[in-house]
């Protein structure tokens, strides 16, 4: 390397100082000017996190939030060159550090994840629609859906209630999030476990609707095919109106 170790050390020192604020000696530097760098750098990170996690930022005690953000930036080496993706690393960091337990915020991982998924879906690269047809006969066909979506499972209903109101409501919450093609807006809808199973099978596009229904009858021990079909068609038609279900695959 052309860079001498001594020069590298000086760079590393100022960078480390910007991350943790711990006093450093830097050759020929004006010490009273260094805090400006720390402030500028830290603000970028703080702002990006507050933009991605507005609910977390709003409801988590501000001193706790400050501490978490501080720990993240001083201990974690941000990998992503695109600053808007950096908050995902924050979510992973908090999970690894078990901050939900440490700060008694049981919903923390779920809340960060939910907020992140919304941003990720909103920003992610476009995925072209599959080749599909409009059809009245869904049963023998594979259903085509908007590929810009995510099905997630939460333990706390942070998508419906204020974070601290969810603490005593631990359970299984499934939801579908998708990006509207036209507006780019993110929509989400709650799913029962049965419809989660249905959707996950539809998304994998391996089976016809009829085959999926048969699987459901078997797995969920349901006897009433007709009721299952009626409820499912209602559900899928609703998703069609909302632009998530497109039609059936051409082939």
């Amino acid at each position: 390397m052309l860079l001498k170790t001594e020069t590298y050390k000086q760079q590393s020192s100022i960078a480390q100082y910007c991350r943790d604020g711990k006093e450093v000696a830097i050759l020929n530097a004006k010490p009273e000017r260094l805090p400006h760098y720390r402030r500028l750098v830290f603000n970028v990170v703080k702002d990006a996190l507050e933009t991605t996690y507005p609910i977390s930022h709003k409801y988590i005690d501000s001193e706790v939030w400050k501490e978490i953000v501080f720990n993240f930036f001083s201990e974690h080496k941000c990998k992503d060159p695109q600053v808007w993706r950096m908050p995902f690393e924050f979510y992973e960091f908090c999970k690894t550090k078990n901050y939900d337990e440490k700060y008694d915020l049981p919903f923390l991982n779920n809340l960060l994840y939910f907020e992140w998924v919304e941003v990720e879906l909103y920003m992610m690269e476009d995925i072209s629609l599959p080749q599909f047809l409009y059809s009245d006969n869904w049963l023998q066909k594979r259903i085509a859906v908007n590929p810009e979506h995510k099905i997630i499972k939460l333990e706390y209903p942070v998508h419906m209630e204020k974070p601290f109101d969810t603490v005593n409501k631990k359970g299984d919450y499934f939801l579908l999030l998708y990006r509207e093609k036209e507006t780019g807006r993110i929509q989400f809808t709650n799913l029962s476990i049965l419809f989660t199973f249905l959707l996950e099978n539809i998304v994998s596009a391996e089976k016809t609707l009829e085959e999926i229904f048969n699987d459901i009858l078997y797995i969920f021990g349901i006897n009433h095919l007709e009721m299952l079909q009626n409820e499912s068609f209602k559900f899928l038609n609703d998703l069609k109106t909302r632009g998530f279900v497109l039609g059936v695959y051409k082939k």
């Binding site: 860079l3 960078a15 830097i26 020929n28 004006k30 000017r33 974690h76 695109q82 600053v83 810009e148």
Partner: protein, 281 residues
Amino acid sequence: MNIKTGIGFRKDFAEEFLTGSVLKPGFVELAPENWMKIGGYWKKKLNQLAKMYPITSHGLSLSVGSPETLDMEFLKNVKQFLKEYNIEIYSEHLSFSKCDNAHLYDLLPIPFREDAVKHVAERIKQVQDFLGRRIAIENVSYYTPVAAEMDEATFVSNVIEEADCNLLLDVNNVYVNSFNHNYDAKSFIEKLPLNRVAYIHMAGHTKVAPDLIIDTHGEAIIDPVYELFEWTLDKVKPVPVLLERDFNIPELAEMQFELNNLEAIMTRKWETENKSIVVSK
């Protein structure tokens, strides 16, 4: 392509700007990092923008001053982005924003040292080889020297010459640094390889203490910076000039007013010599 003044494109004013009624620059500049590998709403806006204006790009995360090796994966994405939007100018800062493999997302000063000149120049060459084009490197504002063994003008000039790259001359940064570090802005500019200036930045700044200006891009351009700009134009060939405004965004009409000021100076200084202003590679 007859290009004059441009504006840094920001989401903050995208909606109104894209109506095209108030602010009408000759081109727009954006940071590839914020616009590449995205989709949805902002991709649509970007495509709309690209139909209306030529685009120049000004990177944030390449970090030519980093001690570590270049992020080639990142650079590949930049290359793809430049191609997709037919972007002729790709510029970056003469600073580092990543160290020990940790991104800092802001610009830190490189030590003004001989070994750093060699190291940074080598990296810029690598980038240019990979992209198959010359890039423009910008003189940045800095608030403290770090382990400096030479003056800033020598450092900037040596890097630019050694890397055989273009210079993005940020006139406001020169003003800010000359104030913060007590040197003469004009003699600083005279020491730079002015034949390599391919692009100019203009901006406002914020005085935070009697002896310190922070380069916020959050205010209107002040008169001494206009004056320095005017003086500089006698010494460089016609190039695109960009107005940077990142914070405290005013009415679009105010930014148009600043573009008009810049254009008036450019016309007076450059078009009297009957030169056309083009985006050069």
